[in-house]
């Protein structure tokens, strides 16, 4: 890839990696403060029960216990992303709605004392009938989990574009299939942890989070503290994958304990608590009906998708919509109807996931292949035919600007010799392709944009301040790289202050895939504004025109006569002399239709731009055991210009693990309200030996509005890798999957079905 830049587009060592390889990087559980207490949480043993009484008096008498709290010590303010979804008080006084729900908590001088105290808290419950299956939950007479939601339907998203029924009648080929998938575990390696300190009326908090500003706002509401008195501080995060986006019950618990005790409080969840009581992923059942023309053109789609929403609303409307949108941003649907239902059950709280929606997306893609086959077409042609092109508008009226979908399809298929392999599958071997698009940011009101500021210090070093957060993707390093490019100083000269609500401005966070397109764009603008000031002074001092000034290697130089130069530090000192230090702000607000609303107005521009990608999986099926091996996996990505190709590859490789290989192994198992595999022994996260040979391709593309042409990098693969695997199964067997993950038992069912047909 040719590159006119000094550092953007280069494979640079990430700025955060030194601290991480030496063990110096601090995560929440590593923090220590004088007089810090240990917190432990008492959790509900019932899936659904009335709380009659909570008595903490005996716990408080244990020597070394400094505070105990329950819902009766909080204001009962309920959290929900939207006004109409506020139903989660996090510590409740009326009832509990899932096993593992936070009921009360203590803070003590050490863990043993805290655990002893916990055993002395007395809670009287009156167990209520519970419901665990969303379809049962929707029936009349099912236990009501929240009184305000009839038939436990939390959210219903209804989208209807064109004339679906008529189009289905006209279609040459119509198919309807139902697909299921178990919710996955986020299984981020860092179990949830939070440290809270309350001093002089200010609450300081450290926790892994995907957006400090949204978190602070939620906690200021729940604690009835002014927003500027709740300060979320920067700390490293050991992975998020969507699971750290919202305020967590532990945040409220630790805050209340710190306020009550007047001492710092640390709460660290165990691996099991992290699985049962932080957040979980939705189980999904998707019915997909497709009408196709004889030439493979999709005429109509009709969807009914049911999401097991667990006990509370969480990001409900968003979670119920996203799988549909990432699909309609990829293909042309002249007629489409989507009915998404998110239904309450007595299971843990659920949130968005980087790989969210696999039943829906893998279902669509493998059904498309089966239909193509029936029509004598191949998956590549069908995807090329139906794939959106630059300048087109999606069914719900989002304009696609830059779009490298076609390039990803072509490059991935050429690299794998796809058409040939697909046309001649053996019983044992199959190849499959999955495509998807991803919005880079979505409407979040005034939080959809980002603002950053930068100051150049008197030695020419730079301080960069942004609300952007890094959950391990490399966002911190990415913005340092962008600043380094604009300001002509090496990355090590830039000190980043980020994700600290006291000093940083609003930013969407590592949420909605906005970090590169929105967060880094704000940084670019701030640095360009500072650059203008540097250039103006340098031009004056060097006696050249401003347009002739270049910045490189800590110096301002004449582009025509590179020997004519002066250090940036001199420019900065001159600026100080003039009483106008070089500081600058910059903002970026994506072009989004802010009238758009998830439930009431599901149309209009969703995001400033979209990323695209194609994955190809090659599998081998053991006919006797049903075990699938995956020797090769190829992914091609249009992420605009990659700021750091090595980091983008890392995201793609991680996605192949977390969505592709996971399609064979990962899924939460339930027995009524009990999660059966809450730890890493029973929940199978793929290991190095489970990984296929990986080939990643970044197609050449530039987004006109992205920073240096960049867009979201990696998530696209996270949402198409499982489709490739499911399609490979279809290619090998001629059958569709019915349930993910494709563990041997499920594969055997597919193989049996095939035998039955013969």
């Amino acid at each position: 890839m040719n590159n006119e830049f000094n550092i953007v587009g280069k494979r640079v060592v990430r700025s955060d990696s030194l601290a991480k390889v030496t063990g110096e990087a601090r995560y929440t559980a590593d923090l220590k403060f004088p007089n810090m207490l240990v917190a432990k949480v008492l959790r509900s043993p019932h899936p659904h029960a009335k709380i009659l009484k909570i008595d903490c008096s005996k716990a408080l008498k244990v020597p070394g216990v400094k505070a105990a709290v329950s819902g009766f010590d909080s204001y009962g303010v309920k959290w929900g992303v939207f006004r109409y979804t506020q139903d989660h008080a996090m510590l409740h006084t009326d009832k509990v709605r899932y096993i593992g729900e936070d009921v009360a908590a203590v803070a003590a001088v050490d863990e043993e004392t805290a655990l002893e105290a916990l055993s002395l808290i007395k809670v009287d419950y009156e167990p209520l009938p519970a419901v665990f299956d969303p379809f049962e939950s929707m029936k009349d007479g099912a236990p009501q989990i929240h009184s305000e939601y009839k038939n436990n339907v939390n959210i219903h998203i209804h989208i209807d574009v064109g004339e679906v029924d008529k189009a289905m009648e006209k279609a040459f080929l119509v198919r309807e299939d139902t697909f299921k998938a178990a919710g996955e575990a986020y299984a981020m390696m860092e179990p949830y942890a939070v440290v809270a300190l309350f001093k002089n009326g200010y609450l300081d908090l450290y926790m892994p989070n995907a957006g400090p500003h949204v978190r602070a706002k939620a906690l200021s509401n729940m604690l009835k503290l002014p927003l500027n008195r709740v300060r979320i501080r920067h700390i490293n995060s050991g992975g998020a994958f969507g699971g750290r986006s919202e305020v967590a019950p532990g945040d409220l618990v630790a805050s209340l304990l710190a306020i009550k005790s007047g001492q710092p409080v640390k709460l660290v969840l165990t691996r099991e608590e992290n699985a049962t009581a932080s957040r979980q992923v939705h189980d999904i059942v998707a019915t997909v009906k497709t009408g196709m023309k004889k030439d493979g053109t999709i005429l109509a789609k009709d969807y009914k998708v049911v999401y097991d929403g667990g006990a509370y609303s969480s990001t409900g409307p968003i979670a119920t919509s996203i799988p549909f949108y990432v699909y309609e941003e990829c293909y042309r649907f002249p007629n489409v109807r989507y009915n998404g239902y998110r239904v309450f059950t007595n299971k843990g709280i659920r949130g968005m996931y980087g790989c969210h929606g696999r039943a829906f997306l893998a279902g669509n893609e493998s059904q498309m292949d089966l239909m193509a086959k029936e029509l004598g077409l191949d998956p590549v042609d069908v995807r090329l035919k139906n794939g959106l092109k630059p300048g087109e508008v999606t069914a719900t009226k989002s304009k696609i600007t830059s779009c490298g979908l076609k390039e990803t399809i072509l490059e991935a298929s050429e690299k794998t010799n796809f058409r040939k392999k697909w046309a001649k599958p053996s019983k044992r071997k199959g190849i499959g392709m999955g495509c998807v698009a991803i919005m880079c940011g979505f409407p979040m009101g005034f939080r959809s944009g980002s603002s950053a500021y930068v100051k150049i210090n008197d030695d020419g070093q730079v301080t960069l301040v942004t609300g952007l957060v890094d959950n391990g993707q490399g966002n911190e390093s990415m913005v340092i790289q962008v600043a380094s490019e604009v300001l002509g100083v090496p990355m090590e000269d830039i000190n980043l202050v980020c994700a600290d609500t006291e000093v940083t401005n609003l930013d969407p966070g590592a949420y909605s895939q906005a970090a590169a397109f929105v967060g880094a764009n704000a940084v670019r603008v701030a640095c360009e504004n500072a650059r203008k000031r540097i250039v103006a002074i340098a031009a004056e001092k060097l006696g050249i025109k401003e347009t002739e000034v270049g910045l490189k290697d800590r110096a301002a130089h004449s582009i025509k006569h590179p020997d004519k130069k002066m250090p940036i530090s001199w420019v900065v000192r001159e600026a100080f002399f003039r009483g106008e230090p070089i500081v600058a702000t910059g903002s970026f607000f994506p072009h989004i239709d802010f009238e758009r609303e998830w439930v009431t107005r599901p149309w209009g521009q969703m995001a400033g731009t979209f990323s695209f990608g194609t994955s190809v999986a090659e599998i081998e099926i053991d006919q006797e055991t049903g075990k699938i091996k995956m020797p090769k996996f190829t992914s091609a990505h249009d992420c605009g210009r990659p700021i750091n190709p090595m980091a983008v590859e890392g995201q793609m490789e991680g996605s192949i693990q977390q969505a592709g290989v996971a399609a064979l192994t990962e899924g939460n198992l339930w027995d009524k309200g009990h999660l059966l595999n809450p730890n890493l022994l029973e929940y199978k996260v793929p290991l190095a030996c489970d990984m296929p040979e990986i080939d990643t391709i970044i197609v050449s593309s530039r987004d006109p509005a992205g920073p240096f042409g960049a867009k979201e990098g990696g998530l696209t693969i996270r949402m198409n890798a499982y489709s490739a695997v499911a399609c490979a199964l279809t290619n090998a067997t001629g059958e569709l999957f019915t349930e993910l993950p494709l563990t041997p038992d499920k594969v055997l069912t597919v193989l049996e079905r095939k035998k039955g047909v013969k």
Partner: protein, 155 residues
């Protein structure tokens, strides 16, 4: 509470300290010696995030009781740098982009270090097999394996 005295050598320094008899080595390292490079991700031996090298063997410090470490020679990720110079594994993990969130990193590096100490020229297959004792949720392992291969060349 009854405490037990343990002595061991850690990162080239001799230490002697009182621990609870049932305390894990991971707790001792993190809480008493402030060596927080080893992480607790599962606490039950299933992930390898807490790996340290004890008497040349990579151990899951969440499964070792502190008194068992009496008399042992232990290296943690904090002890890898020699005279301010990074260990080739640390260097390779950085350069190959093998680090994302970093929570598994110290365990990965310590597991790899023990491997390279007992097998100077491991094949790629051997590296994959050994590194499969540890979980990483972020990277897909490709760059981790490449980093170990690269470091093996340099040692």
């Amino acid at each position: 509470m009854k405490m037990t005295r343990v002595s061991f050598e850690i990162n080239n320094e001799k230490v002697s300290l009182d621990v609870r008899p049932y305390e894990t080595l991971l707790e001792t390292l993190r809480e008493r010696l402030m060596l927080t490079g080893a992480k607790e991700a599962c606490g039950m031996g299933s992930c390898g995030a807490c790996t340290v090298v004890m008497n040349g063997i990579p151990v899951r410090s969440c499964l070792v009781l502190a008194p068992e470490a009496d008399g042992a020679v232990i290296t943690t990720v904090e002890g890898l740098r020699q005279d301010g110079k990074l260990h080739p594994l640390q260097q390779a993990f950085m350069e190959k982009g093998a680090v994302q969130c970093g929570f598994c990193t110290s365990g990965m590096i310590m597991t790899a270090k023990a491997l390279l100490e007992r097998n100077k020229k491991p094949t790629k297959k051997e590296i994959i097999k050994t590194m499969s004792s540890n979980i990483c949720r972020c990277t897909g392992y490709k760059k981790i394996i490449e980093a170990v291969e690269e470091a093996a060349k340099k040692i």
